[in-house]
Amino acid sequence: MLEMRGITKRFPGVLASDNVDFDVFPGEVHTLLGENGAGKSTLMKILYGLYEADEGEVRLHGEPLSIKNPTDAITHGIGMIHQHFMLVPPLTVAENVALGLKSSRGVLTDLDAVSERIVELGETYGLHVDPSAPIWQMAVGEQQRVEIIKALYREAKLLILDEPTAVLTPQEVDQLFVTLRQLKDDGCGLIFISHKLHEVLALSTRITVLRHGKVTGSVPVEGATRESLAQMMVGRAVKLAPDKTEAKPGNVALKIRGLRVARDRGGDGVRDLDLDVHAGEILGVAGVSGNGQMLLAEAIAGLRAPSAGSIEIAGTEVVGMTPKQVRTTGLAYVPEKRMKDGAIGDFTVSENILLIDHNDEHYLNHGLFDFGAIKKHSRQLVDEYTVKTPTLDTPARNLSGGNIQKMIIARELSGTPEVLVAAQPTRGVDIGAAEYIHTRLIKQRDEDTAILMISEDLDEVFGVSDRVAVMYEGQVMGIVDPRTATREEVGLMMAGVEQDETA
């Protein structure tokens, strides 16, 4: 139904899409796979009318098509489910669906008719939502269902799904896939964008892999493996599960008792949480985003004052300390939002590496910076952690996400910390860098650092952790052994089912 031929799009200095061919038949799920910056979003934005291609042709049902804006796309039956939902929170489901459409009753609304159709679509595709419920009251998974209903209501036959599983629990993902398969069977064409290989294999009929704006392969799902896909994405063989030996846990290095942390908007986001992390182990914290993981991390780092409880790092109580004092007890911290909280974009690589220990007398000579010593230190870290940067004086903002993250990890690990809190250490990072970061974390574990790794990526949690704690609504639902636990078990706990009930 869709043919894109020779699509080329240039941005200043970058060829974002280089002569790309892509097509979709009715009744198939065609996955677009690739790392950040590979050109997936560019291609879809061209299709949806957000960008204009420099060269190439788009045909729908054999007719040449010129899509200037999303309204054109919608008129032609193309729907897009964005990663960040485009819903108006105070409005109801029906109001959101009707938004921007002409009412059948002229100036009066026809929300009852809209609601009927929503219920109808919901029953057909297993998308159960209450048309009169306001969006802000709905869970993320439900909101996504509303997005899909919105597209179907507009009679979309070709659906673009941009990383639709990023915000869902495994159970919600299963549910979504049921819906998507049904849409496929009804003759819709689906374009699925993801970098989670097991999901891609579970859902797709065909997979097209992009790298640096070029198609590196287009294969049917039969015969494809995670390894073969990863190799096409990266251009070389990659190890998806890091090698690691048995952990040799030592004493408790991070001890949390009865911790309560308030959310910004009030209410406790972390409730009576107890947790121990031993020296020489990686404790993975799994959970759907927003269940208190970030509050926990910020409380440990002294960035947010807990309302009750205690946190001990290497035997020292750190509640009430400033972030700087907490760091002196042996904490290193890799924040979730690396450009916002972890690095200074306009500072050079060298200056960024200096961020946590710029007062160290090693770098000073009569109170002034000794740039020789600073360069030497940063050169050593950049080389050791294989940070790819043209020079040490390159502003950090010019580095790729993976290299910025490697730079931050190099800085944080350079002081051989007692405890490392790493939040989403490889999110948005290319596979090669992620592979390296995982190896590094395990190496640091072997050097007896206690590591608390917060992640929403279950592959990462299972692959890297020695123990997995699952958080739900500010509490630890249970701690499992990643070697014996199943994804389903962890998924249920992420949805709030206690460990005992799952057994």
Binding site: G37, G39, H82, E336, M339
Partner: protein, 391 residues
């Protein structure tokens, strides 16, 4: 990727923006002269001669530029911490008052003690007047633009009160004239003259030294590093353990201290060697507290570039007066001309900044990088590298 040559071409273009905007303002000024039936050629010549044409002219320009440079250097320090200090006027007044009080209270000490004492007093007076809005901003979230402007008003009233009351020259009371001015300050506090001149004192040298010190502070010391880190990214600084609030207070304190020095230099470098008020701040400062901001912008908010920028802007102010005398135009025209320069320099600042912004070498897919916030970087100014050139 942008080639190296492309970058430097853009940089060159960027640096020429402020100069071009001054020229544009002057062209408009020339049109106004024509409208007033005065010869613009004669006007420009008078301006140039008045500012740079003779030893006397150069001296006047240097002296005019001195407070601009002090204040401008203070602006660059505050700016690096992402704080806007509009309180230069008040800080100058407070620095001048504190140094005057110190001088009046130790009339008999030698110059070797007196001079450092009054300069330090000026520094402290301005520093206090910068620390207050700094603390209000850091700890209570009070907008520093508003608080610094308000404190200007407080400072001028305080000056008027002191100069009409406690600090007034006793002779004024005896004579019954009650001109609000101090007595002749101790001679030990007179700023020494340079090169046997009877007007050019060490003020300009002190201001240049302050600019160099600020450069070293910002790019070669841990404190300056913290100031820049906080200014560029408060969150990352906080996460890294930098005391953000204290750093903001310190930046405004140092900024105020520079303006305070300007105030002290104005008093002890004045021809009357008194502190006098006409009731307004501008009467004392000559609006250097505001014009210094323009000089700093003109100098790309870099302490070293602010040196030539202040000199040029000082020349513009002095030349403007000469122009007025030479071609007999109303004083309002000179005010308008200065205003035009300010408007042009300030309004093209954003354009200059955009030219300086480097093209990212790596273009990420925006949708695929949820954590990549679009930061709103304040300008980086010339050498962003710690070991960047300049000194």
């Amino acid at each position: 990727m942008t080639s190296q040559g492309g970058i430097s071409g853009r940089r060159l273009l960027a640096y020429s923006v402020p100069i071009a905007s001054v020229l544009a303002a002057l062209v408009l000024g020339a049109l106004m002269l024509i409208a007033l039936d005065a010869s613009p050629v004669e006007g420009v010549k008078a301006m140039f001669d008045g500012a740079f044409g003779s030893g006397k002219a150069l001296t006047a320009t240097l002296l005019k530029a001195t407070p601009l440079l002090f204040v401008g250097v203070g602006i660059t320090i505050a700016f690096r911490a992402n704080v806007i200090n509009i309180g230069g006027e008040g800080q100058m007044v407070m620095g001048a008052l504190l140094s005057t009080i110190v001088a009046l209270n130790m009339p008999d000490v030698p110059a070797a003690i007196m001079l450092p004492a009054v300069l330090i007093a000026g520094l402290i007076g301005g520093a206090i007047w910068g620390a207050i809005p700094g603390a209000l901003k850091a700890y209570y979230g009070v907008n520093e633009i508003l608080s610094t402007i308000m404190l200007n008003v407080v400072a001028v009233q305080f000056m008027n009160y002191l100069l009409r009351g406690p600090l007034i020259d006793p002779a004024e009371i005896e004579r019954g004239t009650r001109i609000p001015q101090t007595e002749r300050l101790p001679e030990a506090a007179d700023l020494p003259f340079l090169f046997g001149s009877d007007r050019l004192h060490i003020g300009p040298l002190l201001a240049i030294a302050a600019a160099i010190a600020a450069y070293i502070l910002l790019w070669r010391t841990p404190l300056g590093y913290r100031v820049r880190a906080v200014g560029q990214n408060t969150d990352a600084s906080r996460y890294a353990g930098i005391p953000v609030k204290r750093t903001i207070v310190l930046a405004l304190t140092m900024s105020g201290a520079m303006a305070g020095l300007a105030g002290a230099v104005l008093v002890f470098g004045s021809e009357s060697h008194r502190m006098v008020t006409d009731g307004s701040t501008a009467g004392f400062t000559g609006s250097a507290g505001f014009n210094g901001i323009v000089a700093a912008l003109f100098g790309a908010l870099h302490p070293l570039w602010t040196i030539p920028a202040s000199f040029l802007f000082g020349g513009l102010l002095v030349g403007g007066n000469a122009l007025q005398r030479a071609v007999q135009v109303p004083a309002a025209l000179i005010l308008a001309l200065n205003g035009l320069v300010v408007v042009f320099v300030v309004s093209t600042e954003g354009f200059r900044r955009r030219l300086l912004e480097r093209q990212p070498a790596v273009v990420e897919e925006p949708a695929a990088e949820p954590e990549k916030e679009a930061p709103d970087p304040p300008d980086t100014g010339p050498p962003p590298a710690p070991d960047g050139g300049g000194s």
